[in-house]
Amino acid sequence: MMRFLLLFSRQGKLRLQKWFTPMSDREKKKIIRDMTTMVLARQPRSCNFLHWKDLKIIYKRYASLYFCLAVENQENELLALEVIHRYVELLDKYFGNVCELDIIFNFEKAYFILDEFLMGGEIQETSKQIVNRSIEASDMLQEDDSSEWYEVELFG
């Protein structure tokens, strides 16, 4: 089971946080601090897996953004790496060539996509098409929405 997913920039700025188990704010802050220092200190080309307490941290860098996923000890590390990758693919499909800025400015969308992809700390839907269809379905409801900053190009 997954415990949390953090997205942060190369400067250690948090971009997205998802906690799958209840945690106090203090714990969250500590974890975020620990993760950013741990992951940012890693040399390039080293192993993508880390140990942290009794959890395994799987991280991957996409351009300027670090994806950092904590899973329980018995989980499969390679599979967790693919979870991250699929999420990136989903973001990419939705935003069309996603970049850090997309996630900064439309972070709530990134959350919605994540909620369709993962649920309760487990994979819910792995198909890019289906995740997109459900996000699209919700977005359609705002077609009449004239809010200028919500104009999102749906598919590339």
Binding site: M1, K13, L14, R15, Q17, P22, S24, K29, Q43, R45, S46, C47, F49, H51, W52, K53, Y62, A63, S64, L65, N76, E77, L78, L79, L81, E82, H85, V88, E89, D92, N97, V98, C99, E100, L101, I104, F105, N106, F107, E108, Y111, F112, M119, G120, G121, E122, I123, Q124, E125, T126, Q129, S134, A137, S138, L141, D145, S147, E148, W149, E151
Partner: protein, 1131 residues
């Protein structure tokens, strides 16, 4: 794909400042969030950012509170608040508004509201209560999106006590026509199962329906629940194995819709989930494993593509293959797979390969041998993670021969690692290895010194505790104890003379304690000098007050002589006015005790044995309290087993067979052992034996005695000889005995300096040969059942010598002899050579000149005194038991044997023991075990050259019923002939050892009547016979017996199955019948001859065997337990 993303992403950060670029088109500059983000990026200091955000939050606060704010504006405000919170600024004022938004907004606004709630509120937040109604409403909505949102939020953050409110609605969704709703409902229920399993107990059958759902997505979701449930109770779901296998077959065969493919691999997540489930189901279950072999083979074959995701599947496959009941060709393929991983240039795969090796190496050490060079390389890998994983692997293959090298590597890592969690874990492992396999004292103390220095104050507190306990309790040899303690003292003195300021507090505490207790062992050391060193610690600035009290305690123990007292006085003066009350107290104690050496000696006896501390275990000081309570009407206390019994009797119809009722009562009352399993607790959970784990859940797997062993120390015990094995070139290295281990370093540095590259290579090989020592298959010892090639050095002293044993010891022989000879290692060899089937027999030996014979002491003494325990099944000397030093009596015995009555031949008998001799007669005896009695056979040998007349022999016993068998005792005995008398013995009342006394009178032609007295002692165990009962019969008998005893016995823990091994020893040595072994418990039955049964219940608990004996005969349980202890000690 990821490459494209990366390329794009790297180009993008520059776009932030260039609005005209197309990439920023969607970031409208007029958006308030946009301008906030922009504003933040333009700032240069953290302080400015804080000011900006506070301003922002203030304005948000105003707006959300305003009644004129629309829901749409509210949504936008919420997004901005979320952003501020993400930056680490608290905005608790907005929480209530987030809930309101979720409640009242339109679908889209609601979505943001729910998101904000799930990000803001913690599971325990009180505002969550306000959300329940909203969720209830949305769950019943006709709008699918609203239902989805409600289910998502429910799985994200619902606390335990709120689940019942929404559970029926979520349950209902399992029947929803839309598969996406069904899937989310299943996942929500999965989450409920995790936080409150009891609440979803009733819907288990609905889970089955979800498993059979026509939509693969719903089925996949249900597997999460199944994995969890099967983990808890694999037995309950064996029937589903076939279904899981079929599903996996279909997935692997590509029968699922394309939607489920991931990079053209069919449903990898589903595959891995299924593999995990299968490995749980197939564990220790040959027939279930049988079903899955084919699909596993296919999975291995199909996952050939070179992509991360296929490696993930392969890894899971390999793990599964090594978890379930082994099949040789699959194992071969899996081993190859692991090889590919380990040898891969990709670092992630290498990591997984090491992990897989660690997982399988306990079963198959050969695999580690095959990859030894890779492992060595990984040990020097620049990435600490790889290094750490390698050490984990090495930890698993540590034995007495490679311990020094491996521990050195671990300490090396510890010195560079900065991570606390790592340090704690690794330090614990080093301490565990050091205690288990230490080759010598110096190494042990030095290693522990490093452990304490590095582990410092983060390590588990049980490491120093266990170390001190080890020192104080000592081992089997007094001299060894002294040496170890002395070495510790020497080492600590020199540490204190160095720079004690750098040592961690815990280490200083250990040092103070050891010096306080044992510095007297160092004869050339003035106690005043130690006192001065200790006093220096008190003056150090960074000494904690806890350390100071340890130091004070040590000083109190040490102060003697005028010099010492003056140091003590000085120190106590300084601290008797300390602000710290504990220190002041200690200082006062020091002051007073240093002045009164007599009192001091009484309070703190030198070298005081902690075991002598009198503990009032009967809690008699509570008597007053109890009688008061009784007078006030409280029910009298009943021991748990009595309660259980009454409960059982109260039931008119007992439907529970023995196996159900007993273990429950046992577990509640068997914690009699005070020795904490410290070592177990500090090592990581991983180090546990895998078979043990399977028993933990109280599973009902029946472990039958004769079950074929598939896994040995050598791995899979099949007959196949892997080809790689023979090709494997073992680097020749002198096989070093554990005692020579300290030379390891020097031999390591003695690497020949031929050429630099070659030298380097050789160094690695040398390292390899020292690391993998003891793993090679050339040690046949392992298969013989003697699992540890070298005996554990620091074997803890068997602690629980119970009173009955001590009494009986003194009865038999002088206690000192028993102490010295107890657990004598020499015995091990002689007893293990016992042929499997032979019944327990004890050698007997003449110990005193006047003809008293004692079989029991002989048992412990035999190794020393040079006689062999004779375990003869027939009249010949047993060939498997070659006497290393031929006893003088032996030839005589053999010829006496031929006089054994024909009807007794072929029965188990003891060695013939001389009873008494004079110039004309020599008497010997042995006992023969018959089914219903014990026959004492007395051989009367006339060794004079004249006939003897009027021989009369009398045999009598206080403890035994003696009756003469066959003809009346011989009257006349011709010169150089042998007469035989038989006496049937039965037990009157059980004693640990029973004695027969006798007298023989005879007449020589010339001399008048002569008398000769003799006695023959034999252990009660010769009267013990196996009692063949079934478990049910056992159950009934158990409840009927009233005399019982409980005791903890040593567990033979060096075997794969400690319980079975221990019981087998008892079976062989004491002829007990093993009725059944269930998991960690076993029941055993025997009887004293025919009519006095005794039942024994054994349970493995905290590393010891908790036994509980019951019998209708008083004293029998006590006596039997003594013999069990003996049997196990001498094992």
């Amino acid at each position: 794909m990821s490459d494209v993303v990366e390329k794009t992403l790297t180009a993008l950060p520059s776009l932030l400042s260039l609005d005209s670029q197309p990439g920023s088109a969607k970031l409208s500059s007029t958006s308030k969030l946009g301008s906030l983000i922009r504003g933040i990026t333009e700032l240069t200091s953290k302080h400015e950012e804080e000011k900006l955000i506070q301003r922002e939050l203030l304005s948000i606060k105003e707006q959300v509170a305003s009644p004129n704010t629309t829901m749409r504006q509210m949504k936008e405000l919420m997004v901005r608040t979320i952003y501020c919170e993400m930056l680490g600024y608290e905005a608790s004022f907005s929480y209530i508004h987030a809930i309101k938004l979720a409640q009242q907004g339109s679908v889209l606004e609601k979505r943001v509201g729910y998101l904000a709630v799930s990000l803001f509120l913690n599971e325990s937040h009180e505002l969550l209560l306000l959300l329940v109604n909203t969720v209830l409403k949305d769950l019943q909505s006709t709008n699918l999106i609203e239902v989805c949102m409600a289910l998502t939020v429910v799985s994200q953050m619902f606390p335990k006590d709120m689940i019942p409110a929404i559970l029926p609605l979520v349950e209902e969704k399992l029947n929803h026509p839309k598969e996406i709703i069904r899937r989310k409902a299943v996942l929500a229920l999965y989450k409920f199962y995790l936080i409150a399993p009891n609440q979803v107990q009733h819907i288990h059958n609905k889970f089955r329906k979800a498993l059979c759902d026509k939509d693969p997505g719903v089925m996949t979701a249900s597997l999460h629940i199944y994995l969890q449930m099967i983990q808890e109770n694999p037995e309950g779901y064996k029937d589903l194995t076939g279904s899981f296998v079929t599903i996996l077959k279909q997935v692997v065969g590509g029968k699922l819709p394309m939607d489920f493919n991931y990079h053209s691999v069919p449903a990898p997540w589903l595959q891995i989930q299924l593999l995990r489930i299968l490995s749980l189901l197939g564990k220790n279950d040959p027939s279930t494993s049988e079903i899955m072999y084919e699909v596993l083979d296919e999975s291995l074959r199909r996952a050939g593509m070179n992509h991360n995701i296929t490696y993930a599947i392969l890894y899971e496959c390999v793990k599964c293959i090594y978890t379930i009941h082994p099949k040789s060709d699959l194992l071969e393929k899996a081993a190859k797979c692991i090889g590919n991983f380990v040898l891969s240039p990709k670092i992630n795969l290498k990591y997984l390969g090491l992990k897989a090796l660690t997982y399988v190496v306990q079963q198959d050490p050969k695999l580690a041998l095959q990859h030894q060079m890779t492992i060595i390389e990984c040990l020097d890998h620049p990435d600490l993670i790889i290094k750490r994983e390698t050490l984990e692997l090495l930890f698993r293959i540590t034995n007495a021969q490679n311990v020094t090298v491996i521990v050195e590597k671990m300490l090396e890592f510890l010195r560079i690692s900065k991570d606390d969690h790592n340090t704690i874990d690794l330090v614990g492992k080093v301490a565990e290895l050091a205690e288990k396999y230490a080759p010598d004292n110096e190494w042990f103390i030095e290693t522990m010194n490093t452990v304490f220095s590095i582990g410092g104050d983060v390590m588990q507190p049980d490491i120093p505790n266990s170390f001190l306990k080890l020192l104080s309790e000592g081992f089997d040899s007094v001299e060894e104890d002294r040496k170890l303690r002395l070495f510790a003292v020497n080492s600590y003195i020199s540490l204190l003379q160095g720079e004690p300021g750098k040592l961690p507090q815990r280490f200083l505490q250990v040092i103070s304690w050891v010096l306080g207790e044992y510095s007297y062992l160092k004869e050339d050391l003035e106690s005043a000098a130690v006192l001065r060193l200790l006093a220096k610690l008190l003056d150090m600035k960074n000494s904690s007050s806890e350390t100071k009290s340890w130091v004070f305690m040590a000083m109190t123990k040490l102060c003697e002589g005028t010099a010492g007292v003056s140091v003590a006085q000085e120190v106590s003066e300084t601290y008797s006015s300390s602000m710290d009350t504990v220190l002041r107290q200690r200082a006062q104690e020091l002051e007073h005790l240093s002045q009164d050496s007599e009192l001091c000696a009484k309070v703190l006896p030198r070298g005081g044995d902690r075991e002598h501390v009198e503990v009032d275990s009967s809690l008699s000081f509570l008597d007053g309290f109890v009688s008061e309570a009784l007078a006030a009407g409280a029910a009298p206390y009943k021991p748990p087993h009595q309660r259980q019994e009454e409960l059982a009797q109260a039931k008119v119809l007992s439907l529970e067979p023995y196996s159900l009722s007993l273990p429950i009562s046992m577990s509640s009352c068997s914690i009699t052992d005070r020795q904490s399993p410290t070592l177990l607790s500090m090592s990581s959970g991983l180090s546990g034996d895998s078979t043990d784990l399977s028993h933990k859940g109280g599973s009902t797997t029946l472990k039958l005695d004769g079950v074929k062993r598939v896994w040995g120390r050598e791995g899979y015990l099949s007959q196949k000889e892997p080809v790689e094995e023979s090709a494997q070139v073992e680097v020749p290295s002198p096989v070093r005995s554990p005692n020579q281990q300290e030379e390891g370093d020097s031999s390591h540095s003695q690497t020949p300096t031929v050429t630099p590259t070659l030298g380097c290579e050789q160094e690695k090989q040398q390292l390899a040969s020292s690391l993998f020592l003891g793993l090679s298959t050339q040690s046949p010892v392992c298969l013989m059942g003697k699992s540890e090639p070298a005996p554990q050095r620091f074997r803890r002293k068997a602690k629980s010598l119970n009173t009955s044993e001590q009494i009986s010891n003194s009865l038999i022989s002088s206690p000192s002899a028993v102490d010295n000879l107890l657990c004598n290692n020499l015995l091990d060899s002689s007893i293990t050579s016992e042929p499997d089937l032979s019944p327990p027999e004890r050698t007997t030996e003449l110990t005193t000149a006047n003809g008293t014979c004692n079989t029991e002491t002989a048992l412990t003494d035999s190794g020393m005194k040079g006689s062999n325990p004779a375990l003869n099944r027939d009249n010949s000397v047993d060939a498997t038991d070659p006497p290393s030093h031929e006893d003088m009596d032996r030839p005589k015995n053999v010829c006496l044997m031929s006089h054994l009555p024909a009807e007794l031949c072929g029965l188990a008998h003891s060695e013939i023991t001389p009873l008494c001799t004079n110039q004309s007669l020599s008497l010997s005896a042995c006992h023969v075990q018959k089914e219903d009695s014990l026959v004492l056979v007395v051989f009367i040998n006339n060794c004079s050259d004249s006939d003897i007349q009027q021989t009369r022999i009398q045999v009598d016993s206080e403890d035994l019923e003696v009756s003469c068998v066959g003809d009346s005792p011989v009257e006349e005995l011709r010169s150089l002939s042998v007469a035989v008398c038989q006496y049937s013995l039965t037990v009157k009342r059980p004693l640990v050892n029973v004695e027969v006394v006798g007298m023989i009178s005879y007449q020589l032609p010339v001399v008048t009547t002569q008398e000769l007295q003799f006695s023959y002692k034999l252990p009660l165990s010769s009267f013990i016979r196996p009692l063949m009962v079934s478990t049910e019969e056992y159950g009934t008998m158990w409840l009927a017996f009233s005399n019982d005893t409980k005791q903890n016995l040593t567990l033979i823990s060096d075997e794969q199955e400690p319980l079975a091994a221990t019981l087998n020893v008892l079976r062989k040595k004491l002829q007990l019948h093993i009725v059944e072994i269930i998991g960690m418990e076993g029941i055993v039955a025997c009887s004293l001859l025919q009519d006095q049964p005794c039942l024994m219940h054994c349970r493995v608990h905290a590393g010891t065997l908790a036994v509980w004996l019951r019998s209708p005969t008083p004293d029998l349980p006590d006596c039997l337990i003594y013999h069990c202890q003996r049997a196990l000690q001498c094992h």
